[in-house]
């Protein structure tokens, strides 16, 4: 039987020992939580909400400090995620599926986009030679940078498009073209690539500068033939599976931050968004505003997934990877976190 005096002594000692720890943990809690997000860009229209997080201060409202790690493609962003260089990745959902096709390495927790925005643009001096995607056979086509384990959405898209036009992907040479203005414009202007499955607003800017012409635009049905899963879900917020169970609070904060940012974008005009971005380059500002006005509904409003989008994306992936047996048995729902997906709401 422990005497009350000994019990009180032990209790006091425990208080003395634990109080400083408690105080230290509380003080640690007060400093912002750093969250690293690996994302293609910068200022790629499809991933613009991620660039806006720090600018709008959505992260600071949650006592979080978001740091961005820009990459030349969603596959590289996913690589940063799986190698623990970042806490989250933002990439095309098809790219995430490509990564997970052999083993589950990432799960989508929130939608960033609501519609895919890809433009197949061709160097202007090839206008006389290239009229359809079929004319790209034997040429060098720039795509978002892939990795060894994941194929980017843009590459999957161009492969599907080429097949649609009867060209086998092996008949063209895919070259990484990045996902920033500098990378895509430089590869076009230096002639390193003949065409690029590129992104806005870089495509519109290159078109205006006369460097390219549009061969296909996913947002313009008149410029693209219909293909299965054309309305697939592009940019999504992705986390490692173990984070869902071990760091659910971090995911909750990140999802709240993204939702606030998306909500802000939905509530504000294109001009407000461009003003918030505080772009120094006149052309960049111009084409960013122009494309935002041109595609007003490309962003998710609440970060939720829809069953339709997931179905479209599954169809798109299966169509773009017809030879992969694992793709045919794909169950996309297993790669979406149910708690955060919003599918049940």
């Amino acid at each position: 039987m422990i005497s009350p005096r000994i019990f009180l002594f032990v209790f006091h000692m425990a208080c003395i020992f634990f109080l400083p720890l408690q105080a230290r943990s509380e003080s640690a809690d007060r400093s912002p939580l750093p969250i690293v997000i690996s994302v293609p860009g910068p200022r790629n229209l499809s991933y613009l909400p991620i660039d806006l997080i720090s600018i709008l201060g959505s992260d600071r409202e949650e006592n979080v400090e978001v740091q961005l790690l820009h990459t030349g493609g969603g596959a590289l962003a996913l690589k940063n995620l799986t190698s623990h260089n970042s806490d989250f990745a933002v990439a095309g959902l098809p790219a995430m599926i490509s990564l997970n096709i052999h083993a589950l390495q990432a799960v989508a927790v929130a939608a960033v986009d609501d519609a895919p925005l890809f433009v197949l643009m061709v160097r202007a001096n090839l206008a006389s030679e290239v009229h359809t995607p079929a004319d790209l056979r034997g040429r060098r086509i720039g795509v978002n940078s892939s990795s060894l384990t994941s194929k980017t959405t843009s590459q999957q898209l161009i492969e599907l498009m080429l097949r649609t036009y009867g060209v086998d992907p092996s008949e063209v040479n895919f070259v990484p073209a990045g996902q920033s203005w500098e990378s895509q414009s430089s590869t076009i202007r230096t002639g390193q690539v003949d065409a690029i499955m590129g992104d806005e607003p870089f495509a519109s800017r290159l078109l205006a500068s006369g460097d390219v012409f549009f061969l296909a635009n996913l947002a313009d049905p008149s410029l693209v033939s219909p293909f299965p899963g054309a309305n697939f879900l592009h940019a999504v917020l992705i986390a490692r599976p173990e984070m869902v169970s071990q760091s659910s609070e971090k995911i909750a904060k990140m999802v709240r931050i993204l939702r606030k940012t998306l909500q802000w974008m939905a509530d504000h005009s294109a001009q407000d968004i461009v003003k918030a971005l505080d772009l120094k380059d006149v052309d960049e500002r111009k084409y960013c505003l122009e494309t935002l006005r041109k595609y007003p509904h490309i962003y998710s409003k609440d970060g939720h997934f829809s069953s339709r989008q997931l179905l479209e994306t599954e169809r798109f992936f299966k169509s773009s990877n017809p030879t992969d047996p694992l793709a045919s048995s794909l169950k996309l729902a297993t790669m979406i976190n149910e708690h955060w997906s919003g599918l049940s709401e």
Partner: protein, 824 residues
């Protein structure tokens, strides 16, 4: 181990010991297991740590070599492709090149700088925060820490050809990030890369904390697992280095849960075994012991055994031949022996009780308060008489100490023994009884005088004292009353004796006052006064006093009736008592102290003679005994005063002339003797007149003795009007008078007085309608000129008077012829 007052059965004692033994065994086994595991884990951990250190050192060296080679190849590819040689397109070319190789490039940031260190090209937007100028562009190996992103880069600088003899440096940034650490991760191993004691990369999934993830100790326990921490510096360069920290996590061989389950299992198994082997037998033995205990308890309580218990005891003696059987047999013998002894003791006790009752009856019959106490003063007997005396029965005081009934004694010291004169030690024994007179106190605090007669006897262990207590209250009261009466008688006798003494009345009253104030039992202050009624019958005059303040001697010298306390006593003719300096005190002065008074009128039958005034202390309580004595004293004083006043009157009549009240011849001689003695001492002169009225006989014969007497009286008045206060006139008889003039400096002074007398008496007298004319002839003798004795001087004056007669009457003559007498 146990509280002596706590009962614990044998079963529980056995169970407790078995439990403690088992716990000790488990603790010993557990300690050994812990020691074994600790030693084993230490050896394994140390071994593993050494391997990890060697491995990571080699791994870092390998990385450094590979990254160096890649940087060289990277620069070579740019130069080989002439990317930078076209100054117009060099940056687009370079950007395109970097884009294309991005997915295979380990260098995440690329800068191109000129020889001055100024940045010419940046590839990735994150590098915008990098410095604009690099101080050591040509240093091949550098470290760069980007504080904004908390990332550390290994920087490789390569000189690069830019065409037309342009030269620059390409800086290739290899991040040391989480991905890098995950490449060399081992199961159960955590790794951290620290820069300036801050974690910049880790192999952990999730955020890290410098405080909780890094420890100063090389070994610690966390979440029930052992953590062995080691660290190595990145390289051997003499510049600031990152540190690779690796923590090897070992799961203990023995888990707490496993140890608890094993211990519990062992514990339960041993308990069951012990119960089957020893427990059942012990239970049987303790049951037999319990039966013996019950039998012993029954015998202890009732002093005999019930038939059932006796049968049970007999059966236990025969059931099994072992120690318990023998114990049962011994208990049987014991009960038999004790039963016999009890019967003997009971008979003896009955005898004692009879004797005790006899003793009580005897002490009651004696009618004396009897107290018995031991050598420590503890009361062991006190009879009913004592109970009556102290108001407490024996049952209340039994065992108490006698000291609490004695004055100023305590049980803890020997003062009560000394008070009762008890023998100090056994050697001071005495067979006779002794008496002690002291005061005793009751529990209510009241006290009474007592005389205690003590005796003692000694039993086996100690002295036992017997005390007969006699309450002396009544006896002492009677003695006190006798004493007061005795003192009173002496005082009154003394007053009477004083009354008979040949002393002036004032002196008698002073002595009488002293006698009254010195009566020992009388609670008065040693101060007071005696007043006598003055001749007017309306005032008092203080005649005698003792101890009075100077103010009072003046203020109280003459008091009208009704004024102040003494005046009130005189006016009201009753005793006046006051215990304080109250409003009835009409006389007061600054600094007067509080006091009270007894003021008694001194009455002789109904005549007030005076007042006796005595002082008492403040708060004095009026006392009938005091009043009685003081009344007796004032009565005696009245006798004393009356007698004194009578004596003084007789004495006056013996020395004075009845008609004129002047000193007669006898008194004259006394007065003259005193005057001469005084003059001799003072060396002064004394004048003695011998006067004879002229023609007095004719008046007496003509108008009768009545007129003659009046003439004598009026003549004396005229003579006295010519004299000083100290001068004395005496009547020798008939119409002859003597005058004594003391303290003269010159004989002629006497002549002047004689001349004045002659003139006064020469004037006519009007008596009863008759005009009378007489004269006087005066003879004067001077001491010491004319003689030194009374007779000589009177004779010389007489002769001189005859000379004056012869000279024609109405003149004076000196006895000495040498003294000139002026002629009229």
């Amino acid at each position: 181990m146990f509280d002596h007052g706590t009962y614990l059965s044998l079963r529980w004692q056995a169970a407790w010991r078995v439990l403690v033994t088992l716990l000790l065994v488990i603790v010993l086994i557990g300690s050994f297991a812990w020691w074994f595991e600790y030693t084993t884990m230490n050896l394994l951990a140390r071994h593993h740590q050494n391997h990890l250190t060697t491995f990571y050192q080699k791994r870092i060296q390998s990385w450094e070599q590979e990254w160096q080679e890649r940087s060289i190849r990277f620069r070579a590819r740019i130069e080989f492709a002439h990317i930078l040689e076209d100054s117009q397109k060099r940056w687009d070319n370079l950007r395109a090149f970097l884009t294309i190789v991005e997915n295979t490039n380990i260098f995440t940031q690329v800068l191109l700088i000129n020889p001055q260190g100024e940045v010419l090209f940046r590839h990735v937007e994150e590098s915008l925060t990098f410095p604009e100028k690099w101080s050591t562009p040509d240093q091949p190996l550098q470290w760069f820490f980007d504080a904004r992103t908390n990332r550390l880069f290994r920087v490789y600088s390569q000189a690069i050809f830019m065409g037309r003899a342009e030269k620059g440096f390409i800086l290739l940034f290899r991040p040391l990030d989480n991905a890098l650490l995950n490449q060399i991760g081992f199961p159960q191993t955590e790794m951290f890369l620290t820069w300036r004691q801050k974690i910049i990369a880790s192999s952990l999934d999730g955020e890290v904390d410098d405080h909780t993830d890094l420890h100063t100790k090389t070994m610690y326990w966390k979440h029930g697992m052992r953590h062995d921490q080691g660290s190595i510096l990145w390289s051997e360069e003499l510049i600031e280095q990152p540190t690779l920290v690796f923590i090897q996590i070992s799961v203990p061989l023995l888990s707490v849960q496993g140890v608890l389950i094993a211990s519990g299992t062992v514990f339960l198994s041993v308990v069951v075994l012990l119960w089957l082997t020893l427990g059942l037998w012990l239970n049987y033995v303790t049951r037999r012991i319990e039966m013996l205990k019950n039998i012993a308890h029954e015998f202890t309580v009732y002093a005999e055994l019930s038939p059932e218990s006796a049968t049970l005891l007999t059966s236990m003696e025969k059931t099994r031949r072992d120690e318990m059987g023998e114990l049962a047999q011994a208990l049987g013998h014991l009960t038999q022996t004790v039963r016999l002894n009890s019967q003997a003791q009971r008979a003896y006790a009955e005898k004692l009780q009879v004797r005790d009752e006899q003793f009580h009856a005897m002490t009651q019959a004696l009618g004396v308060a009897i107290l018995v106490f031991d050598s420590k003063g503890n009361i062991i007997f006190w009879n009913q008489k004592m109970a009556d005396l102290f108001g407490q029965s024996y049952s209340k005081v039994a065992g108490q100490n006698i000291a609490q009934y004695l004055i100023q004694t305590t049980p803890t010291d020997n003062s009560w023994r000394q008070l009762l004169k008890l023998p100090i030690s056994d050697t001071q024994t005495t067979s006779s009884a002794w008496q002690v007179a002291t005061s005793l106190k009751r529990r209510d605090g009241s006290q009474f005088p007592a005389e205690i007669t003590l005796s003692y006897y000694k039993n086996d262990k100690q002295f036992i004292f017997t005390a007969a207590v006699d309450d002396m209250t009544q006896r002492y009261a009677l003695e006190a009353r006798d004493f007061h009466a005795y003192v009173n008688r002496i005082a009154i006798s003394a007053l009477l004796e004083i009354a008979l003494e040949d002393l002036p009345l004032q002196r008698k009253l002073e002595v009488a006052l002293s006698i009254i104030l010195t009566v020992p039992w009388l609670a008065v202050q040693k101060k007071g006064s005696i007043f006598l009624v003055e001749a007017d019958g309306k005032h008092l005059e203080m005649i005698a006093q003792q101890g009075l303040d100077e103010h009072l001697l003046t203020s109280c010298q003459h008091l009208p009736f009704g004024y102040c306390l003494c005046g009130r006593a005189a006016q009201e003719r009753r005793i006046v008592f006051t215990s304080h300096l109250d409003a009835h005190h009409d006389i007061g002065f600054d600094g007067i102290q509080d006091h009270g008074h007894y003021c008694l009128p001194i009455l002789s039958r109904d005549t007030l003679l005076g007042v006796l005034n005595l002082y008492v202390k403040p708060n004095h309580v009026y006392n009938q005994e005091e009043e009685a004595f003081l009344n007796t004293a004032t009565n005696t004083l009245a006798e004393l005063i009356e007698r004194g006043q009578s004596e003084e009157k007789i004495k006056h009549m013996a020395g004075h002339d009845n008609l004129t009240g002047l000193p007669n011849r006898r008194l004259l001689q006394e007065l003259l003797l005193k005057a001469l003695q005084q003059a001799e001492r003072d060396r002064l002169l004394v004048g003695i007149f011998f006067m004879d009225l002229d023609r007095f006989k004719q008046v007496n014969d003509t108008f009768g003795h009545d007129v003659g007497d009046i003439l004598l009286i009026q003549s004396v008045e005229r003579i006295q009007s010519c004299l000083r206060k100290a001068d004395i006139v005496a009547r020798l008889g008939g119409d002859e008078f003597n005058v004594i003039l003391p303290d003269l400096h010159h004989p002629q002074d006497a002549g002047k007085v004689a001349d004045q007398i002659i003139q006064q008496l020469h004037k006519e007298f009007m008596i009863n309608g008759h005009t009378l004319s007489i004269g006087v002839s005066i003879g004067i003798s001077i001491f010491p000129t004319d003689g030194t004795t009374i007779d000589e001087l009177i004779k010389q004056a007489d002769l001189a008077m005859y000379k004056a007669k012869e000279a024609g009457r109405g003149v004076y003559r000196f006895a000495s012829a040498n003294i000139f007498v002026p002629e009229k």
